[in-house]
Amino acid sequence: MDQHHPDISRRHFLKTAGMAIALPMLESTRPAVAGGSNASSASTAKRLVCTGAYLGYHREAIYPQQTGFGYEIPPTLEALQRHRNDFTIFSGFDHRPPKADGHDTWQTFLTGETRDSISLDQLVAAKIGSTTRYQSLQLSAGKAKFPMNRDEKGKPLPMISRPSVLYRKLFAIPEDQERMDYILKSGGSALDMVLEDAKRLSRNVSEADRRKLDEYFDALREVERRVQKRMHPAGQTMPKVDLSPPSYDPIGPSLMIEAEKMMYDLMALALEADCSRVMTLFLGGEGQVFTIEGETLKAGYHALSHHGNDPEKIAELVKVDREHMRCLAEFLDQLKSKTDADGRPLLETTLVLSGTGIGDANAHANNDLPTVVIGGGLKHGQHVKAGGNQLLGDLYVTLLQKLGIEANRFSNATQNLNQVLL
């Protein structure tokens, strides 16, 4: 097998990913829209993508000077100019965490006031993710050092940092498929066996232990379901894409941006093929030096974020911020050109939240978090500045409602931003 095919460069991979996606899933095999009852309503968003930048965005460069619709595009958002009417930029919003210590509190980005509670994406996945092959997918570009997603028990979820792993998960490579199916199928009997094991065990244990074992039973049942879904469905075509798996994994720390682009490409494909409807992407904060458009930056990303207000470092940091936005803009291009079963651009029914848990990495401050929300059929085009008592959670409430989930609160937030966004 050709391990390192020199001709399949990342560019090539990208190209195929962007343009030549063949038959994702047959239209007819697409599950009916999730979310239950009136989910087909045109006003409901069906998918959620969240990205979180570990080092945040330099606020002075991402916040427009003016609020409202007529703002002048700030440097970091330039790449998003072409999507201007499809996104809203929020300033001044945060979760008012009880402590603000930079790194640890970063993790409240999707969880709200405290970090040990269910994150927005998981809340959504539980409601709208059950019909797809993967209820949710957690991805990272760069080292995933800090958890961004938490389950209903507040337990952090792992992330996939290798595009090849994600690729295999989404579009199992044919030669691996056979063995994969064998492992999954025989694994089914392994699951039956240990279920029996656990049952025997639970007969002889205390009440408290039985509750602990319930965790095991619950997990086991869910895994059984997931394993079923992962198995090659008999007589059905797996989503196939006309592209090769990445010839290498950009896990080297200097390749974080590259990993980010690949992950966005794969996410677009996964959304199109309806492999999952809830995805998150963590953007790491690596120490290595990036090369952006052929120009090598003068210091590592992490070091740039501790710029100490040195204008030169800030300028370099903003270059990275702009690059994140360029990747995002290209992702949005794809969501506009790819369509759902009804022939509508995916972006119309996909909510994209791009934010961070840190407001100022230089000062390790977790307040005033730059946040961008895109698509999903919301009313966009503005720069919205937080009023005195508004919380980032207010925005999340609106996102939940837009996704057809009944919610009046999120963590410490009890209001919403419907007035602005609907």
Binding site: G102, A144, K145, D151, S161, R226, G252, A363
Partner: protein, 877 residues
């Protein structure tokens, strides 16, 4: 509120739930007025607690708080007129103690899932394979300060799925899937396709230039970012390289060939490692200034990439000598001296340069160069004498951390640099049998199958193999029922056309997701020999019991105290104890969190070596006290410590030379500011945020981890006080807010004096006498001057004055049983996977008191640890 009303409420209540155990009249007289359900002052509702189940940890904890408050005279508050007599206090305390002993008895643990590390070690021990969990494997949650606490170790579907997949990976390690034929491929690595840190390389034109040698891989090595060996085997490398020596005045001396070393390193490994950790492949010398192609054949293992290192680069740190430094390259001091001697203009600009943090900016070299090349630089007026040069050289060497970034940029532009124009990796040509594969075939598989009778038919082998495997996997003998079920499963596989190996592969996959593998402690109450063996083994080695311990359990020997002690001593003398030391100190002392802290660059040019020095100190220090049975006092006031050059010289201000950038043990002189847990840089940094000290966090840490008197969490809705270093307020003024508010004061009168006594240590644990004040010079570079004087004084409750850190140390030494008790509780929390109950802590208290009494006869920490093993707690789930 009226007494009458309170009285009525209470009376009704006590009727409803008559608990003779609680000292009712005492509460009624002194407490209920403020702590009834309506007022619940300080968020504390005695009425609700009264009816709650004492057996629940949360409630017994609350009662214990009540006990402490009453005992220590903290409640009722002094401002209340109605105060109990001393006798009333004693009686109430005694009654509460009796009830707690009765209700919060030993035991009460639950099924304990293996932690991530324990899980990995269990698989390694069970199958013998090298096994690493994939990056995507879920992390554990910390509870009670440790990642192995049963209550934190929940099981989610995501984790179960990860176990399911990891089990396949583990089974593949013993019985891998059939391999497929491979064709060699060719990968071309362009200069821009390397991974490199700022100091390790820079792309200029058609080449990447390297100018540094330091022992850190990330600081000085480059490797292809987009290559990773997927199939181990022989590969051909073609490296196109040249020397770049522009012949400028300063560096014309580099006339020898440049040595390029080639190492192999897994691409997904931490790149903060030292070069010595990498596998050296080969070395070649570059003698020409024109590109030349070097060909070599190397063997690459799975996930490895070839790594390049400029072995005789001129720039190196004086404290970081690279490995086997046989190349006799000049030290950085010599290099600087030669440069300044040879280039008078460069000397002139360095002479006037301010050597401080401002030089770390990328623009520093550009500025210096501009000055050097300015036509109006008056070179004639400069005194270029040997003595003058030496002065400048010494200034530069002293602040080499600030100087070398400038030199690096200079060398990138002007040489001497090693240039790599391209690298080709072609292969694999011969798929080699890796060491792991050979081990698997010759050692691991035979061992796994050893129980099977030789020459038997495959079907007859199944049961004996499973018996040995499952007993080890489940950490107690496999029952016949187990064997029946697992054998049937394997046989069914074989009947449907699969091999014995495939059947066993499935059996492994099944066992590794069984609750009997994933959980330990299946029986409540007293541990039997098998569970005791597991508890001891996971405690001291982070792994399942080894063969000898299993044999002891099988022989029923562990219930005997002497035998258990003997086994514990054996494990403590083995290498496996290192896993305990790393895990326990990493969590108890918090040094595990150092990885997540990046200090303010104005404070230090932070290197991985600093962190490693801090972690290494904590581990080696603890390890020595344990192994050599030093007294508990040694933790606080030791006569020795350990460190590397980065730690000892740059943080502690010592002057030691340690060969091969290793670790050394040094004596801590009397009166030294460093040394001991309260002066250890790792602890002090872990309790700061890398930018500023956090006196409250440090105070809380000491109460939690040294004095064992943890304050309750701050009441909800109270914002933390953020240190404001803009100089508007002093830390002391900020903290004064705590004592003004009674709600805060009850805890902060304990917390803050400790935090203040530690203020003489900066965020990195360096001694300081003043707060820094940062201003900017005309170029906008930060300048540090001494700001306010540190004022470490304070008064600890009970009227104990702390003048400085010495007094805090003295306080702990005077209360060494309190420290001993705290440490013992931490050890048992770690060992049992749960926090000791009230009764268990009471037992610990007595054990520690007895221990301290014996310490005059030389009883040490190791004795204390052994004393804990026969305790009720350790022997009860």
């Amino acid at each position: 509120m009226s007494f009458r009303r309170a009285g009525i409420t209470w009376a009704l209540f006590s009727l409803a739930a008559p608990l003779a155990a609680a000292p009712l009249p005492f509460f009624e007289n002194y407490c209920i007025e403020c702590h009834d359900a309506d007022s619940a002052k300080g968020g504390f509702d005695l009425e609700a607690l009264k009816g709650a189940d004492w057996g629940v940890e949360k409630n017994s904890d609350q009662w214990e708080r009540v006990l402490k408050r009453v005992r220590d005279g903290e409640m009722p508050p002094a401002k209340e007129e109605n105060q109990p007599s001393a006798e009333e206090r004693t009686a109430a305390t005694a009654e509460l103690h009796r009830s707690l002993m009765e209700k919060a008895t030993a035991g009460g643990g639950m099924l304990q899932r293996l932690s991530r590390n324990e899980y990995r070690e269990s698989i390694v021990s069970l199958l013998g394979i090298d096994f690493e969990l994939p990056d995507e494997f879920p992390p554990d949650t910390v509870a009670h300060g440790f990642d192995n606490s049963a209550s934190g170790l929940v099981l989610s579907p995501t984790l179960m799925e990860a176990y399911f997949d990891a089990a396949t990976l583990a089974a593949d390690g013993l019985f891998p899937p059939a391999s497929r034929p491979v064709e060699p491929a060719r990968v071309v690595v362009a200069p821009g396709d390397f991974t490199f840190a700022e100091t390790a390389g820079r792309v200029v034109g058609d080449a990447i230039r390297m100018v540094v040698r330091t022992p850190q891989i990330a600081d000085s090595c480059i490797w292809p970012a987009k290559f990773e060996t997927r199939i181990p085997g022989k590969y051909k490398l073609r490296i196109n390289a040249s020397r770049f020596v522009r012949g400028l005045l300063a560096n014309s001396s580099f006339d020898e060939p440049m040595k390029c070393r080639v190492y192999a390193q897994p691409v997904d490994q931490e790149e903060g490692q030292s070069i010595a950790k990498m596998r050296k492949l080969t070395e070649f010398t570059v003698a020409s200034d024109d590109p030349e192609t070097f060909k070599m054949e190397v063997e690459l293992h799975r996930t490895e990439a070839p790594v390049l290192y400029f072995a005789n680069a001129l720039i190196s740190r004086p404290t970081d000598r690279p490995p086997d430094d046989h190349l006799k390259t000049p030290t950085i001091e010599t290099v600087i001296r030669e440069m300044l001697t040879r280039d008078k203009r460069l000397f002139a600009v360095w002479k006037d340069a301010k050597i401080d943090g401002g030089l770390q900016r990328g623009s520093a070299w550009t500025n210096l160069k501009k000055l050097r090349d300015a036509p109006d630089l008056n070179v004639e007026a400069v005194n270029h004498s040997k003595e003058e040069i030496e002065t400048v050289v010494q200034r530069m060497v002293k602040e080499i951390g600030f100087v070398d970034p400038v030199l690096i940029f200079q060398f990138y532009e002007e040489g001497a640099a090693l240039q790599i124009h391209s690298m080709e990796i072609i292969g694999p040509f011969e798929v080699t049998e890796s060491k792991q594969e050979k081990k698997r075939r010759e050692e691991l598989v035979p061992r796994f199958m050893a129980a099977a009778p030789t020459g038997a038919a495959p079907e007859e082998k199944v049961r004996p193999i499973l018996k040995s495997f499952l007993s080890k996997a489940f950490r107690r003998p496999a029952t016949d029922a187990d064997l029946d079920r697992f054998s049937t499963m394997v046989m069914d596989q074989m009947k449907s056309g699969h091999s014995l190996e495939e059947g066993l592969h499935l059996a492994i996959r099944t066992a590794l997701i069984s609750p009997r593998f994933l959980y330990r402690g299946h029986h409540a109450g007293r541990l039997d020999d098998w569970d005791l063996a597991s508890r001891l083994a996971y405690f001291l080695t982070g792994a399942p019991p080894d063969d000898q311990l299993n044999a002891a359990a099988a022989a029923g020997k562990l219930s005997d105290h002497a035998q258990l002690t003997a086994e514990a001593n054996r494990l403590m003398d083995s290498e496996a104890i290192d896993r305990f030391v790393t895990s326990f100190t990493g969590q108890w002392l918090g040094v595990r969190s150092l990885e997540d802290i990046t200090p303010d660059p104005r404070l230090i040019v932070w290197q991985n070596g600093h962190r490693k020095g801090m972690v290494g100190e904590a581990e080696r220090f603890f390890n020595e006290i344990l192994r050599t049975n030093r007294t508990l006092e040694t933790f606080i006031k030791p006569d020795f410590t350990w460190g590397n050059e980065r730690l000892l010289n740059e943080i502690y201000g010592q002057k030691v030379a340690i060969p091969n950038w290793g670790f050394a043990r040094i004596e801590v002189p009397d009166g030294a500011q460093f040394g001991g847990l309260l002066g250890q840089a790792g602890v002090l940094m872990a309790t700061s945020n890398g930018n500023q000290t956090q006196p409250v966090v440090r105070g809380v840490w000491v109460l939690h981890n040294i004095l064992g008197d943890p304050p309750p969490p701050p009441p909800p809705g109270i914002p933390a006080i953020d240190p404001d270093t803009r100089g508007t307020k002093t830390v002391r003024e900020l903290l004064a807010a705590h004592t003004r508010d009674a709600k805060c004061a009850s805890c902060h009168r304990k917390i803050d004096p400790i935090g203040m006594a530690l203020e003489n240590y900066d965020p990195l644990g360096r001694w300081r006498t003043h707060y820094p004040e940062w201003t900017q010079d005309e170029k906008g570079q930060p300048v540090r001057t001494d700001g306010a004087l540190i004022d470490p004084q304070g008064e600890f409750p009970g009227g104990v004055p702390f003048k400085n850190i010495e007094d805090l140390r003295a306080y702990v030494l005077n209360n060494i049983d309190q420290f001993g008790q705290c440490l013992s509780e931490k050890l048992l929390t770690y060992a049992m996977g749960r926090r000791p109950t009230y009764a268990e802590r009471d037992e610990i208290k007595h054990l520690v008191q007895a221990h301290v009494a014996r310490s005059k006869d030389g009883a040490g920490f190791r004795d204390l640890l052994l004393d804990l093993l026969p305790s009720e707690g350790f022997r009860t789930r």
